[in-house]
């Protein structure tokens, strides 16, 4: 199978997203698609699979002009799309999710649940995932849901599989497992379109790469003929130098100190300190309980025992409001469900945690809210038409910056960042790193949860590694390696690569 997209253009209202994109993929190859947040990668794939109509251009499949009526149609013709945003039915079981709209029926037209279960287990085990297929999918972590998505698409016997940032929520082992499967399928003649912001991956898995910028496809290379620098230059239109800026930390006194925090069955005896100006990374496998620890500290979830000290004083944080009063900020890992109010304007989103500060004579001073939002959007280089547009209309990376803006704006002294660069393009990543440095220079303490080991090593001062709800070690970043962190993350035994 060979797909060619020629001169595709697309506009949402007045926002011209694609202005002549060329892209082609064939059976048996992995073709990466790269570009900044909002470059139009997901849009292009949605056009290919018929979710959106295009405004111009041709799609040729094996030379024939083709247009699919919708995702199901595309799938039936051998094109499967693993979406960037997970499309799951949280209340439904794993097996029902996997077989939705393609259920196996018995001869009476009734659903054959046993057969579906068997098949689901089979495909999941191909990915090395041991998952109870009768569990509601919503009770599984994001990473596991991602694996299920992948299993689902393999199951359709697709000839071309589109993966839109499939690894954003996966850890190293799972990524390795995924790549093994991809290579396997490639040999069987399956073609892949692979979208990712993780540079290393592109060079590991892709045969070809196409870079998009400002609505057009800038360049297409064989992966072996190109280097990272070139790709980045194509994407951002300039040099950005190193991925990770130099850190020159100056630690002040201890701000936050957590002692023996325990919630039975979730995490146990968690103790750590963070100092002014420090970046403390939390590393670990997915599902290790890092997010849960932070949610408890921030007052979202309950904890059974343990103490939290701020500036040496014991504090009781009963809800996020009191956390914010103590000048703690929390960028959640799921910006859509927990970070943003998509229907509200950027301005209202950014001002929300600090809104009480804008009251004059009992009423909100709108002018200063506008100025405040504008200032932060400039500082964080949020790409948007104005502060009045809704958060839902921004691309993922820009949404992430908006969430960051609101916590920076609320004057946080301790900033918890849960996967701050997940799904963010290289350019924006670099901007976020610079911002982190700027904040620590102003004595802000940052706790960064990240599943991206190079990022952990590149941006932190200390690394706390979590294994099954316990901190298995806190190490200095200087001297730590991917291997040493992985060892701790898998419980200290040497099965990091099992």
């Amino acid at each position: 199978m060979k797909i060619e997209m020629k001169n595709i253009s697309k506009a949402f209202g007045k926002n011209k997203v694609l202005e002549g994109v060329n892209f082609a993929v064939e059976s048996g190859e992995v073709h990466a698609l790269m570009g900044e947040n909002g470059a139009g990668k997901s849009t292009l794939m949605n056009i290919l699979t018929g979710l959106y109509g295009d405004d111009g251009g041709d799609i040729l499949v094996d030379g024939q002009p083709t247009s699919y009526s919708g995702p199901l149609d595309a799938e039936q013709h051998g094109i499967s799309f693993i979406h960037q945003e997970m499309n799951n039915f949280l209340e439904m079981s794993v097996v029902d999710n996997m077989f939705l709209n393609k259920e196996i029926k018995n001869k009476f037209g009734m659903i054959n649940e046993d057969k579906m279960r068997k098949q689901a287990r089979e495909y999941l085990s191909k990915l090395g995932a041991d998952i109870d297929v009768d569990k509601p999918i919503g009770t599984l972590s994001v990473g596991r849901q991602q694996l299920i998505e992948i299993a689902k698409s393999i199951m359709t016997d697709a000839k071309i599989i589109i993966m839109d940032e499939p690894t954003a929520a996966l850890t190293e082992n799972e990524i390795d497992q995924l790549f093994a499967v991809v290579n396997d399928l490639k040999k069987q003649g399956v073609g892949f379109i692979y979208i990712s912001h993780r540079m290393e991956e592109i060079f590991k898995i892709a045969d070809k790469v196409t870079v998009m910028r400002d609505g057009i496809s800038v360049n297409e290379y064989m992966t072996k003929d190109v280097d990272m620098k070139q790709l980045v230059r194509d994407m951002v239109g300039r040099e950005i130098g190193d991925f990770y800026p130099d850190r020159d930390p100056h630690f002040g006194k201890t701000i936050l100190s957590v002692k023996n925090l325990t919630e039975k069955g979730i995490f146990e005896n968690v103790s750590f300190d963070v100092h002014e100006g420090e970046i403390l990374a939390f590393s670990g496998l997915m599902g290790a309980g890092r997010t849960e620890i932070m949610r408890a500290i921030f007052g979202i979830d309950h904890y059974d025992s343990g103490e939290i000290y701020l500036d040496g004083k014991k504090v009781k944080i009963k809800d996020p409001e009191s956390a914010i009063k103590h000048r703690i900020g929390f960028l959640t890992e799921n910006r859509k469900d927990e970070g943003l109010i998509l229907a509200d304007s950027l301005r209202d989103n950014i001002a929300l945690p600090s809104i009480n500060g804008f009251v004059k004579h009992g009423l909100i001073d709108d002018k200063s809210v506008d100025d405040f939002a504008n200032m932060l959007m400039k500082r964080l280089t949020v790409k948007a038409m104005s502060e009045q547009v809704t958060a839902g209309s921004l691309s993922g990376g820009n949404q992430q910056k908006v969430v960051l803006a609101k916590w920076v704006g609320s004057g946080s002294r301790v900033l918890i960042l849960d996967e701050p660069t997940r799904g963010v393009d290289v350019g924006a990543k670099r901007e976020i790193y610079d911002l982190m440095n700027e904040l620590t220079d102003r004595n802000v303490a940052i706790i960064m949860i990240s599943s991206d080991l190079p990022e952990v090593l590149g941006m932190s001062d200390k690394i706390a590694v979590v294994y099954e709800g316990k901190i298995s070690g806190i190490v200095d970043t200087n001297g730590a390696t991917q291997e040493s962190v992985m060892t701790l993350a898998t419980g200290g035994t040497d099965n990091a690569r099992n």
Binding site: H83, M92, L100, M110
Partner: protein, 327 residues
Amino acid sequence: MQETKSVETEKSKGFDFKKFVGKMGPLLALIVLVILVTVLSPGFIQPNNLLNLLRQVSINAVIAFGMTFVILTGGIDLSVGSILALTGAVTATLLTTGISPIIALLAGIALGSLLGFVNGLLIAYGKAAPFIATLATMTIFRGATYVFTNGNPITGAKMNDSFMFQFMGRGYLLGIPFPIFIMAVVYLVLYLLLHKTTFGRKTYALGGNENAAFIAGVKTKMVTIWIYTISGLMAAIAGIILTSRLSSAQPDAGTSYEMDAIAAVVLGGTSLAGGKGRIFGTLIGALIIGTLNNGMNLLGISSFYQQIVKGIVIIIAVLLDRKSNDK
């Protein structure tokens, strides 16, 4: 049936108590209620009264079965009471003309489906919120009923001549009132539809995440239209039972029945947010409401207090359900 068995075995292997209470909560509530009423008023448990109760429940239950689908998609259908009245009136009028009762019944059912279909169109293609769309059609269908009947109840000798029509609401089969059979058949059909067919899966999917359902290729608009059509159809069946039971079609029949149906669905553990629930629960919910009504009547509780008690029971049931669903 083999299907069901295998599910059972699998469940019993790893018995999950919390899940069991969560699922069986409404059933437990019903059992407690039945015991309570029986102790207070022994007449309750007599076979005659139980058959009465089931017949009384049948109308609400049939509507509530249809409403279960609607609520599973995250929607709501406020127009069922008006559909019941309009289809009842039309069926009755046809019968008074002396037409074959089969045709009259089919016409009523077809009309109910058509009215439900209109709701579905407004919601699927008009993108109107179900609450407001069916609030509007509730008013329209009720007005149409008044116009059609000129505000008078419809009765007539011919209507009462038809054995078949009378049988619907007042007949007995093997000593059991016929509406109970209708309820049972409707339950069985809708149970299979919801839990054993792809249509059922799509219903859940639509309620769980409409966008995702669309991306998975579910024809969300078609499913929506079908579901409101089913709800209209159920209201029509209920209308026929009621008209037959009363030997007359009242223009104000079914007023506020939507609330009882919704209460039955929610008492049965189906979430108003959609995507979660079972039709078995709705049956239990309808029985809880029926037992309450019947039991309080037997106990001679004044209707003023009956309302208060009913409201409180609904609240308690919903609160308990929330608790058992919490971790």
